[in-house]
Symmetry: C2
Subunit: 258 residues, 2 copies
């Protein structure tokens, strides 16, 4: 059981997207695709004469922005990816968190920053997703969730992927769940300038060491914290790499301590 | 088994939409909702500085327009309606024709007019829709289809409703399928200025008479031709009326000759 997350570095390049969908469509057995789309949303926001609002790289989702991300993630990107997978013989079904109540969230509480209609995930419905998979359908998840009271919420796609993997693993502990993040590097890098410096395997102990000695810093830390949270919650492995790495069975594999 | 189609007269008025969703969510047993959204699409097209292109009330779907209707129908409207139904306790799942390969279409051949990326429906997958219904899910269909080769297509929502009803009836002939069109009048009118002049029941024979004597004219003819095509294909009844009429079990009921 494989859950693949693709982001803007893939979605904004038609050639890269086609390659990623070739890879995904050819995976054996049940699979789930999770996509982002922030760059395209920013383009549409600009085309409508608005300014994307970001603080520290996180989008502030006011009501007008929520309409646009719902259109772009749930409509434009999700439906085209589904149609592209159908053309590759994979019977895809596009879902937001509201569809089938797949992912329930709550509006992020306002502390120092008001993120607007941003959703913090409460949980994914692994049973429902397995029912779709059992029916021969391949869920394609966009990063829109809901609060159960009719409010849609903009949600981080990495979080969607992580929570989905955890719920899928919890619902069927006998299944081995592999969560794969497709990003712009061949793996977690010791030295960002050295393409060969990717780390083949991380376990909580080695990860703690790399954090302590300053090898792993910045934006990789929340990504890997999430990865190890998934591993601790029953996901067999989390693999992080670019498409060639994932295709070759490489990338950084995050697993439990041995 | 009820299939309800709602259009722009409902979707563009929040109060009317809430009432229609109250009615739909409270229906007993399996149900499918089909929505349009042309008016909202025209608003978004205008907001992006483009001109809606229409010939004889039918949209010409160029590539940029297809992106917008995919965003508006598949994203904005579909996801909000799904979230609104979840809030009413109905486990809705939003679908385009690409999702689960629910509705396959072909690009409309160019005769005198090139409608661009407009889809003529080849057929709906009644078996797949029943599998979702059996899993406790309520499909919410938007008027976007696909050609199976990765091309999304803009498709008339009445046609989606009709073809879905036919496919649902064919897949389970033992089920009684009621297709309900929610539109702006209490039923098919003998006299558009007389609110009491709605026709309670039509069968092919009486319909032919009303067409011959000029009682039924204009845009009602393609609507009713479709309705009787659905009845001939195994749909038990097609009911046409406004929301109060449908709620009261009134409206014009189209059935087979007795």
């Amino acid at each position: 059981m494989i859950i693949l997350k693709i982001g803007g570095n893939i979605l904004n390049k038609p050639g890269a997207l086609a390659e990623a969908l070739d890879y995904f469509a050819a995976l054996k057995g049940p699979a789930i695709l999770v996509h982002g789309g922030g760059r395209k949303a920013s383009e549409v926001i600009a085309a409508m004469g608005m300014e994307p609002k970001m603080i520290d790289g996180r989008r502030i989702t006011d009501a007008a922005t929520l309409e646009i991300v719902t259109m772009v993630y749930g409509g434009l990107i999700n439906k085209q990816v589904v149609a592209d997978l159908q053309a590759r013989g994979r019977n895809a079904i596009g879902l937001s968190g509201a569809d089938g109540n797949a992912i329930l969230a709550e509006k992020r509480p306002v502390k120092t920053i008001d993120y607007g209609f941003a959703g913090d995930v409460l949980g994914a419905d692994g049973e429902m997703l397995w029912r779709l998979l059992d029916a021969g359908l391949t869920p394609v998840l966009c990063p829109i969730t809901h609060d159960g009271n009719g409010q849609l919420l903009n949600t981080n796609a990495d979080t969607i992927a992580n929570e989905t993997a955890i719920a899928i693993a919890r619902a069927r502990p006998e299944e081995q769940v592999s969560l794969r993040y497709c990003f712009e590097f061949p793996g977690v890098m010791r030295d960002i300038k050295d393409a060969d410096s990717w780390i083949p395997e991380l376990v909580p102990n080695s990860y703690a060491g790399f954090k302590a000695d300053g090898t792993i810093v910045g934006g990789m830390i929340p990504k890997l914290d999430n990865a190890f949270a998934a591993v601790a919650a029953g996901v067999e492995e989390v693999v992080i790499g670019d498409l060639p790495a994932l295709r070759a069975g490489e990338g950084t594999r995050c697993m439990e301590n041995k």
